[in-house]
């Protein structure tokens, strides 16, 4: 059985360990050989920002995990353009290549997947 998964990342890497636990879940889905895509929006776009040093706060750095996603065949990373812009960011400020989508397309995008989840 195959389902097409989309995880929506809506929080920064500093909102407790929400993202870290979401990534554990995402890796598990990928380990079941299921296709997974990610969509970053709202505060979630900060989690891909370059130059983060969570180690300063003794927090785990999730950037290497994001980097490893490709090995898990997780290749499609979408990002909401408006979420980036209002935070003064552009795709060049991010650690990974992403596919920008506009806010008005989000509802349609979600329907392209079998399962949509909150990270």
């Amino acid at each position: 059985m195959k389902k097409n998964f989309l995880y929506v990342i809506q929080s920064t890497s500093f909102d407790g360990i929400r993202i870290q636990e979401a990534l554990d879940e995402i890796m598990t889905v990928a380990a079941f050989d299921q296709p997974v895509s990610l969509l970053f929006l709202d505060e979630g776009v900060y989690s891909l920002k370059r130059g983060q040093n969570p180690e300063i706060l003794n927090l785990k750095n999730v950037v290497p995990i994001f980097d490893a996603l490709e090995m898990y065949e997780i290749k499609l990373l979408y990002i909401e353009d408006e979420s980036l812009k209002i935070r003064g960011l552009s795709t060049g400020d991010l650690i990974l290549p992403v596919i920008p989508v506009s806010r008005s397309e989000i509802g349609g995008l979600l329907e392209n997947f079998d399962v949509v989840l909150t990270g």
């Binding site: 059985m1 389902k3 998964f5 407790g16 360990i17 929400r18 636990e21 554990d24 879940e25 598990t28 889905v29 380990a31 079941f32 299921q34 399962v115 949509v116 989840l117 909150t118």
Partner: protein, 133 residues
Amino acid sequence: MMMIKFAIKISGSPYHSQASDTGYHFIAAALRKGYGIYRVFFYGDGIYNALRYASPPTDEREIVKRWSLLAQEFDLDLVVCVSAAQRRGLLGEEENKLLGGRESDLAEGFRISGLGQWVEAMLEADRVLVFSG
């Protein structure tokens, strides 16, 4: 038509938001209507829903106990994520055995298992729903 089956993730701590309440009321309503609940998976701070010795004042709802009762009544599969639980300090029977036969902190009707159980539930169920704080 076959009845729709849900896979449900609860990731809110019992007293910090309404997530555990809304999840409970949704699941109870679904079961009473004859829908299937393939599995309820407690993740993140949601694992605190399974602390056996929760003893709220007598004029309050008993969040942990009502999960246990629902599980009993409908043969519901309540799974607590092992990694989320270990990180936070809720041990299952096996870990307690290693600690010299200490009694488990896990409430009646819950079991501890891995994230794979959640992925399997998402693959088997018709609908996936998250209640988060």
